[in-house]
Subunit: 206 residues, 4 copies
């Protein structure tokens, strides 16, 4: 009857499914995410989900996709905010990485912690955007090295090291197995400080 409302409702349902899945993901864990639970939570029939997603895998892929997009935007915002200063950009990128993880545990979970065996492989092409995020770090390191501000051996390798360290920080916090004697904020600051310290040539810069 109301073509407009129908269309928007439809989009709303798709959104609703994705959002609910995200929330269930963080509250119950991936292993306990089920189509039925999503359906129950949004008040639609389980069948309806299949009108918007081919299956569970496709749904999760969409979530991964969204997460990749969000993270990409966050990184691009950092780049835009520090176009000329590779050191400050590096600092901001590290913080953005960790913040994204801590703020979006659901996305982080499926983007980086989900084993590929648990679902149909995420299409390789979609990982391109993810790679571009790493490239941002690579470029930043290269620029810092060129400007004599940062000591870089191999930009690719070093970017991976930074990436790994940040990833480790996020997941260690997630796993709640970190020593209680260490406050989360202190820990994050220390991690970023060490990374900066390790790559910056002149300490007075920071």
């Amino acid at each position: 009857m109301q073509a407009e409302s129908d269309k928007s409702e439809s989009k709303d349902l798709r959104r609703s499914i994705l959002d609910t899945a995200r929330h269930l993901l963080v509250s119950d864990g991936y292993a306990n995410l089920s189509m039925r639970k999503i359906a129950r939570a949004i008040g639609y029939s389980a069948t309806s989900i299949y009108l918007h997603f081919e299956g569970k895998d496709a749904l999760v892929h969409s979530l991964i996709d969204e997460g990749m997009g969000l993270k990409y935007e966050a990184f691009q915002a950092v780049v835009a905010a520090h176009p000329d200063d590779p050191v400050r950009r590096f600092d901001a990128l590290c913080r953005a990485y960790i913040d994204f993880g801590l703020d979006n545990p659901e996305y982080y979970e499926i983007m980086y912690l989900l084993h590929p065996e648990q679902m149909a492989r995420f299409p390789a092409e979609k990982y391109r955007r993810a790679r571009r995020n790493l490239d941002v770090i690579v470029e930043t390191l290269k620029e810092g090295a060129e400007k004599g501000l940062m000591s870089v051996t191999d930009a690719f390798v070093d970017a991976s090291v930074v990436w790994a360290a940040l990833h480790g920080a996020v997941t260690l916090i997630f796993s709640r197995r970190m020593d209680r004697r260490v406050a989360q904020e202190t820990f994050v600051d220390a991690m970023i400080g060490r990374l900066l310290h390790g790559y910056i040539t002149f300490s007075e810069h920071v």
Copy 2:
């Protein structure tokens, strides 16, 4: 007939279950680990597993326990090998951490990547040994600082940072999402190099 073999058969089955579970864990992921699959793989009925383990949780706990033990031994061996030199000990500990992870992905998986929601909580007391591993790093950093060889702000925090970085390195390699342009060995060396470099006062030491 062979009293000896008979006695050991029982223990063999237990071992067989644990090993099979370990392998399935890495090939199919924890979510897909089922008692039935284990049973099928070892050629026994599912019921038989319950003769050796109280349930799925107990089985996984046993695996975690074993992993903890292995890792603890590895760390203690490093400590024994470098009783007086905190810098070399630090280097060796980092390498031992990553090596353990790469050599025992199944153990690493359940020790550090398993979400606690997915199974009954691992008895707190059993984590003591895990904590002692962290303490080894803490002590090493303290000793390095006392001897003026390492620059440490807060030993607990710094040990956690190191821990996180190593953890990130291992898991990034596991996830196979690392840039292919980076060789694994180069990456590991770079990570350890950076950690050493970041904490050592006099670079001529390394």
Copy 3:
């Protein structure tokens, strides 16, 4: 094609499940009542039952509920048939109690013989209707006492005594452990006669 039949099919399955469960209950006993057996008996998959009932407990609760309803109606019919004569009402109530039990052994079974440990507790509120049945006897005794027709010490206690005697009569017949020398009908008549005789003041009334 036949919208009518389609709609009712769903309800038919629900009915079919309930009826089959009821029959199995009486033939195999509660302990041997299983979802699979019900499913097999109606020619559906076990999963289908879960489309109509949340679980085994819910299914049994539905049966109890139905039984309570039937019995309540039977009692109300008796009350309506004898609005002014408490003695005849008492007689009819006793007979209705026993008749209900003998006519609906499956319902009686789950309503009164099922141990609560065997299933999730039947919601307390649902027992209200059951209590109202007892209250009908209480009121009848009170009325009989007020009119000087019946000798009652404490209406609550006496109603419970009546209830227990009737319950004992039904279950003794069920258990098939009654002496064969005693015909069922004779036994029932004797029980009701004794109850009447015991509570009525003037014997000429009966």
Copy 4:
């Protein structure tokens, strides 16, 4: 080595099994009585039970047997205590019936509440002793009638009615579905009072 101790131990084990089964019966209900649980409770292997009992049915039959014996003794004691007074004997028998039930719910459970479908039929011959208990009531009623102390129509039928009423009292108490406004003791007294009152000719006797 110690033939004596061995033998007695063996008998002890049999006793131990029976006692444990009885206790489990009352705490967990018949449906939850399992060989494993019994074995675990007495600290023996499940297999050991099969050295003393052919199977679960045989074990329960033994319990029923014991219960029958106990009850028979209780009734015989009452008979011995009131050899000449059928009225007092009747009173004492009723009380003995209810007391036995309330004191030995485990025995009562399997003797009178267990459905025959739930286990292999209890050998018919073993019910003879049970029948003899009913006969005690029959004889008492007959004797009371002969002495002009009790009004009895048909001793068999009346004994069954008494039996049913007592059985109903016990099971209603067991089921915990009795109205809370009625105290157990009051209820039992009322039931026995009514039975006495109903069968005694001259009320001054009591």
